[in-house]
């Protein structure tokens, strides 16, 4: 094996369930999610904090999992793309991305989805500028962003309609 410090045993709350596992103290949250928990929906495009693909929600706030130590997530709640659909029903943001074609290669999509869900949790009626601001840390090379912005707005409208009964 490599010359590396020994692993630590810890518990993280991932998509609503406690998981106990061992990982290196230098392991990033990205590595632990993908390699230890096999939650490969979280992607990486740089591992330097530059692309946003690895975004997950940590205690209610979007973080770049490539820049977050897994050790810093101990005892905290982590949400990934795998947790967005409930009982097999897509989240309205997922549905809007699907319907409008906001996911092309789909590699940036999990990061965008997490950021968009976070935005809509705070603001169900974001302006186009607010949507763009909230997603400014995410790169997409396929879509030209147009359908992503439209999908977030559509999801917001539908969530508003649902909330208003």
């Amino acid at each position: 094996m490599s010359i590396a410090p020994s692993k630590i045993l810890a518990t993280l709350r991932v998509n609503g369930r406690d998981v106990t596992l061992a990982f290196h103290p230098h392991a990033t949250l990205l590595e632990v999610l993908r390699e230890e928990l096999r939650l490969t929906g979280t992607k990486h495009g740089c591992e330097l904090g530059q692309c946003g693909a690895c975004t997950v929600i940590l205690d209610g706030t979007p973080v770049l999992s490539c820049l977050t130590l897994a050790a810093d997530a101990i005892g905290r709640s982590v949400e990934t793309v795998e947790g967005l659909a409930v009982d097999g029903t897509l989240h309205p943001v997922q549905r809007a991305f699907l319907e409008l074609g906001a996911a092309q290669c789909g590699y940036c999509t999990p990061g965008f989805l997490n950021a968009a869900v976070h935005l809509l949790e705070k603001n169900l009626e974001p302006s186009e500028a607010e949507i763009r601001d909230a997603l400014a840390g995410h790169l997409c090379r396929c879509t030209g962003y147009t359908k992503i912005v439209e999908a977030v707005a559509l999801a917001g409208r539908r969530m508003r309609a649902a909330a208003n009964g």
Partner: protein, 784 residues
């Protein structure tokens, strides 16, 4: 009997903007990309890369690395000595460099270990002794005679200096053309190199079984070419190799040729008997490159008094980087497609590709046609201005006609360029605005054309370019097998649309099995925008093949002639008496009872009469061409030189839009990517080093830089396309760059003859310090 099949809610899948079938997995994180694959006992690989741009390798000592805890194996050049390259004419790479390195980042050795960290630590323990050589970092330097202290990048090349490829073609009487011209416009341009920067970093996983069979998963756009190259480099029969292309996280041409880490993974798996994964870091992706060539362009166009083109002469010099890659094809492509848009009295093209000590350049969206298109459409803008003509109307007046031949003998079929031009001009009020906006604001227009698949394969062979099998299950499920690779463009969905439409069933009753050389017939790959046209036609004929048997059985059941059977909404019914009907499932079961297992096969080979008969005529022909036109509006800050793109309207003739939402998505992505190339993206080098091999410094437009893109789908009926379809993946990018350049010229009243159009260049142009690009006369463009 259980419930079989589902009645589709609409009569036709073609033309409906349904969610793409692979979209469900993509929005839930369920899609398995290459790096998501992990196998039991898997080892991790790392490549040691050259720190020098040009150097001889004197020795490599890896004893210490081999003893490092966790390391399982190390390999160097001599372990895999076979030369390979994507083109038969450029077999010039080895997996690990042998004797010399030709660019910073070239792989020199490989290591596999129990984990990534061990492999990385061990890489630092390999000692390589180099003797550095003078580096060649520009087109100008590459054209210079190699002097005493230096050596050619490829010493075995018989070309002069560091020239890799030269092309000289003339069509029509050029001298007479220029003599007939009233005015000759003579300009030089420089298009900077840039890269794909697909969001997914390349990854490959190899598993060599005890039965001597290799399975290789790779984020590749061209599984078939990887299959061929792996067989030759590993010296294994192709029949013992299975290549699988999982969904690819963006390609844009950057994953179209076999590269070192894929072959290294296979080698190490064979050597160790364990699965091996190599995933590149972002920095390594920049070194792997194969991106847009920097091209210097000299363009002379002679215009008759009515504005028509009497003669055009194009010269291009391409900076190829350290190896051949697709470069010979790229060189031809810089000249091949200019005449596909406009009529010309005569045309001459001289191309020259040189080797430099940079990562190899290859194909990026628009492959070789993007750079001269930028130049040509910029010059046409100047011509229109000089003649006092409206840029859109001028282009429409000289546009090529549908169903005609170009001056370089290419066959043109459907052509929606005039429609695209008027659509963008009308939507933006181009004619009312151009030349009349406030200082600092500008509007620009451009047009372009692109291939719907290369008319000839990369290696000569008389076999189909694409094949498909359509299998019908007795439960009503249909599977289409085709060797395509989906890099986000929607090829999975395209196959499902065609088969669902042909059989009249719900698109979700179609499954697609693609990109697996054990299971799927060959498709040459996702390049040259060929998949919809070629794989689509193959899938259509495979579906028709099986439909014929279902129609025969259904006809017998319904007591009608088979050709009266209509397939629609999950039913097979009589054209004349629609209430005489069977469900698709019952029809399929009847057919299986009569004919046995139900599967149809189909293949597609382009027609032969697409091009002329001269050396080099193989690059440029395509069974059809797509056409696009773009208008961009910009605002330029005179203080900072900053350019804000306020609007991009992009119309694209894709033939028939099989799924309009996906076509729009391709148009929008093209507009965005073209805008990045026009304004900020550049592969820049300093002191032999890539200056910015990361996604922060290699600037791409963010969501804040990109305007809401207005995509206009222009439909023409392409007789030879599947359901009339052409392409949308690459063509729409080309007009965006010159449209933005023309808008900037309109905004600042001066032209910038180089890309990217940075704030610095804007300020220089405003100062009047750049003006026209005056490049030094090229040295030795023709070798003896």
């Amino acid at each position: 009997m259980g419930k079989n099949g589902a009645a589709p809610s609409q009569a036709h899948v073609v033309g409906a903007s349904l969610p793409r079938i692979d979209g469900y997995a993509k929005v839930t994180g369920a899609a398995i990309f290459a790096d998501d694959i992990a196998l039991p006992r898997m080892l991790f690989g790392k490549l040691l890369r050259s720190p020098h741009a040009h150097a001889r390798i004197l020795s490599i000592d890896y004893e210490r690395a081999l003893r490092h805890p966790g390391v399982v194996a190390v390999a160097v050049g001599g372990d895999l000595p076979a030369r390979y390259g994507i083109l038969p004419s450029a077999q010039d790479e080895t997996v690990f460099a042998i004797d010399k390195v030709r660019y910073v980042g070239e792989p020199v050795a490989g290591i596999v270990a129990e984990d990534e960290l061990a492999a990385q630590q061990a890489a630092a323990l390999i000692e390589v002794r180099y003797e550095t050589l003078p580096s060649v970092m520009s087109i100008d330097e590459a054209l210079l005679e190699v002097d005493g202290s230096g050596e050619k990048i490829h010493p075995e090349s018989r070309k002069a200096n560091n020239v890799h490829k030269e092309v000289h073609l003339t069509f029509g009487d050029l001298d007479a053309g220029f003599a007939a011209a009233e005015r000759i416009f003579d300009d030089e341009y420089f298009f900077e190199g840039n890269t794909h920067a697909a969001l997914e970093e390349h990854s490959a996983i190899a598993s060599f079984g005890a039965d001597g069979k290799l399975t290789l998963w790779s984020s590749t756009q061209t599984p078939h070419y990887l299959h061929r190259v792996a067989a030759s480099v590993l010296d294994l029969p192709a029949s013992r190799i299975r290549i699988i292309a999982p969904p690819v996280g963006g390609g844009f041409g950057g994953k179209t040729e076999p590269v070192a880490h894929e072959l290294a993974a296979a080698h190490f798996s064979r050597k160790t008997g364990r699965p091996v994964k190599f995933t590149l870091s972002r920095e390594e992706v920049f070194y792997t490159h194969r991106g847009r060539h920097p091209v210097r362009i000299h363009l002379q166009t002679g215009i008759r008094s009515d504005g028509s083109i009497a003669a055009c002469r194009l010269q291009t010099w391409l900076d190829g980087g350290g190896y051949g890659s697709y470069g010979v094809a790229t060189t031809y492509y810089t000249g091949a497609l200019l005449p596909v848009t406009y009529k010309m009295g005569a045309y001459a093209f001289d191309g020259c590709r040189v080797y430099t000590n940079k990562p190899p350049c290859g194909p990026k969206r628009g492959h070789g046609t993007t750079q001269p298109r930028y130049a040509f459409e910029s010059q046409l803008d100047e011509i229109a201005n000089a003649l006092g003509l409206d840029a859109g109307a001028y282009r429409a007046a000289i546009a090529i006609d549908p169903y005609s031949r170009t001056i370089n003998h290419l066959r043109v079929t459907s052509c929606g360029m005039r429609e695209a031009l008027s659509a963008v001009a009308e939507r933006t009020d181009y004619s009312e605005k151009h030349g009349k906006l406030a200082p600092g604001r500008g509007i620009g227009l451009a047009a372009s054309a692109y291939l719907c698949g290369a008319g000839l394969p990369i290696y000569w062979n008389p076999m189909p370019h694409s094949g498909a099998i359509v299998k019908v299950d007795r439960g009503g499920g249909v599977t289409v097998f085709c060797g395509t690779s989906d890099c986000g463009q929607g090829s999975q969905n395209m196959l499902a649309v065609i088969v669902a439409e042909t059989l009249g069933i719900d698109i979700l009753d179609v499954s697609v099995c693609a990109g697996d050389t054990d299971l799927t017939p060959v498709d040459l790959g996702s390049y040259s925008s060929r998949v919809t046209f070629m794989a689509g036609n193959a899938a259509r004929s495979a579906a028709l093949d099986v439909r014929e048997r279902i129609a025969a059985a259904a006809g017998a059941e319904l007591n009608i002639a088979p050709d009266r059977c209509v397939f629609e909404r999950g039913r097979v019914f009589d054209r004349d008496e629609p209430e005489r009907a069977l469900s698709f499932v019952d029809a399929a079961r009847a057919a299986e009872a009569s004919f046995g297992t139900l599967a149809g096969v189909g293949s597609y080979t382009p027609p032969e009469d697409l091009h002329g008969d001269f050396k080099g005529s193989g690059v440029g022909p395509s069974p059809a061409y797509s056409y696009s036109a773009c208008v961009a509006e910009v605002e330029v800050d005179f203080e900072t030189g900053e350019i804000r793109v306020e609007r991009i309207v992009l119309a694209h003739d894709c033939g028939r839009a099989l799924n309009p939402a996906i076509v729009e998505g391709q148009i929008e992505g093209s507009a965005y990517m073209g805008m990045g190339e026009a304004l900020m993206e550049e592969s820049a080098f300093r002191n032999d080093l890539h200056r910015i091999p990361n996604l922060l410094d290699y600037k791409t437009p963010t969501i804040l830089d990109t305007p809401r893109i207005e995509a206009i789908v222009i439909e023409t009926e392409e007789r030879e396309g599947p359901y009339g379809a052409k392409e949308a993946g690459e063509g729409p990018l080309n007009p965006v760059i010159p449209a933005i350049a023309n808008a900037v010229a309109d905004a600042i009243g001066a032209r910038i003859y180089a890309t990217p159009i940075t704030p610095e260049r804007v300020l220089q142009a405003l100062d009047g310090t750049t003006g026209k690009l005056r490049l030094r006369a090229p040295v030795a463009t023709r070798t003896a």
